[in-house]
Symmetry: C2
DNA sequence: TATTGACCTTTACGTTACGTCAAGGTTTAT
DNA sequence: ATAAACCTTGACGTAACGTAAAGGTCAATA
């Protein structure tokens, strides 16, 4: 079956302008152009457009889609399976939002209380996801190996006094964190105090402190299972809670 | 709890630029501005931002959101219930897309066949939904009452001959439609023939024919249950099928 | 106390993915 | 043959920010 711009647009539920734009940026060129300059699309283009729309639905920029699809390693079938997974993820996220709105209704009716944190559950998830994809590896490379090594180096040179102080601080962090965790609010006073203690503890290990690095490390606590295991030992979710508290404390994205 | 731009942005998962922009367009102004010009947000603003994000999630333009929320008739609780419904709709639509991708995988593996129509199931739905919200009423007003009245007037003046011809055409339309419906492809030859017959039948009733009006009427077949009942009598889904066929035939959105 | 670094401000230009004319050629139907 | 409904290529407009520049503010540190 062959389609003109408008027919294909109608079929796919997009505008003809969109198809012309896609031709312009070279992401979807017609099978051929007839003698009077009309764009004619064939079966291959129909399938390609479908693929493009799947990617678009997931919020991926057209430029990126183009790169993905023109890469020699592109595997259409594999892509479809990824689409499926991403769509399922998206549905989970939507479910979070629905839970959120239901909680908000209940809270408006006075049937329950909601922290400010909870009010944005489901919105945020998306951003964190993107951040993880974008920066996850980078953060690890930047703040992971390097600072861990530095930490060790510094630890070697610590005096007995320092060592005792740092051990005591560590206990205080854990204690404050457990107390804060019970409140459930990483923006609360207790959690912010825990974040501050965590910072003071950190400065014993780091040669220099920056909010950015602090936030990066907190993110790593959730991403790297060795850290997660350490913090979640007593209470599952503690690592994530600490990360949230630190991110608010540092005000860092 | 009071928040500076960055803190609120962090809380809600948006950028500080976004908050400044929202202030600029007057959709979310801070509770107050401190002595050095810093924006300070309070509880009311947190809740308002949450509402805005719900609307935004549903793809509504900020300008429209602003109009909705500043209208004197705005009822926050009612809005939340609508959000819930819209989000549930969105989930249904997502399920359609997931079904689509699964079908596509199956078809790529040769386990089943898919029509071009089916390949865009779930993408299109969104547009139709928007069209309905935007133009549904307008179409009904434009092509509904008016053309129905005109039709009646013309019918009154029909000759016996014309009447017989139109009755025969009506039977042909139904026959062609039933045949086409069995193929399941509204873009196919049979369906397009049915659409053409439908047009010829229409011209007996209408003083003037236009593709736009034809497409509008077809849309009404699905929206107005009196029409839907008539066409779906023999086969449920027939009205929608006819609409699709006519929309492709007329190439109209 | 001075400095530094992370905040905050406004101004302003850039970007993405199209929507929307405008001006003109082509195809189809009456 | 004339009109209606296609198609084409510009080209400018728009929404919702991102991003960079230039400069004040504030808390912590040397």
């Amino acid at each position: 079956m062959e389609y003109t711009v408008q027919k294909l647009a109608q079929l796919a539920g997009v505008s003809s302008r969109t198809l012309r734009y896609y031709d312009q940026i070279g992401i979807l060129t017609p099978a051929r152009v007839n003698s009077s300059g009309y764009r004619i699309y064939g079966q291959k283009e129909v399938d390609r457009l479908q693929q493009i729309l799947f990617y678009r639905e997931l919020g991926i920029a057209l430029e990126t889609i183009k790169e993905i699809m023109t890469a020699p390693s592109f595997d259409a079938e594999k892509a479809l399976n990824e689409h499926r997974e991403q769509l399922l993820k998206k549905r989970k996220q939507l479910d979070l939002l629905i839970t959120n709105v239901e909680k908000t209704i209940a809270s408006a009716e006075g049937r329950m209380n909601m922290s400010d944190q909870e009010k944005f559950e489901g919105f945020k998830k998306k951003m964190i996801d993107e951040n993880e994809r974008k920066y996850g590896k980078e953060i690890r490379e930047k703040y992971g190996e390097d600072t861990v090594n530095q930490s060790n180096a510094k630890l070697m040179n610590m005096s007995q006094e320092d060592y005792e102080a740092v051990t005591k601080l560590e206990a205080e962090v854990r204690e404050a964190l457990a107390e804060a965790f019970a409140t459930g609010d990483p923006a609360g006073e207790l959690a912010q105090k825990a974040a501050e203690l965590h910072k003071r503890w950190l400065t014993y290990y780091w040669t220099e402190y920056s909010k950015e690095a602090h936030a990066g490390l907190a993110q790593m606590y959730v991403e790297d299972e060795r850290f997660t295991a350490y913090y979640d030992k007593e209470q599952p979710g503690m690592a994530a809670f600490l990360r949230d508290a630190v991110h608010i404390y540092t005000g860092q994205k």
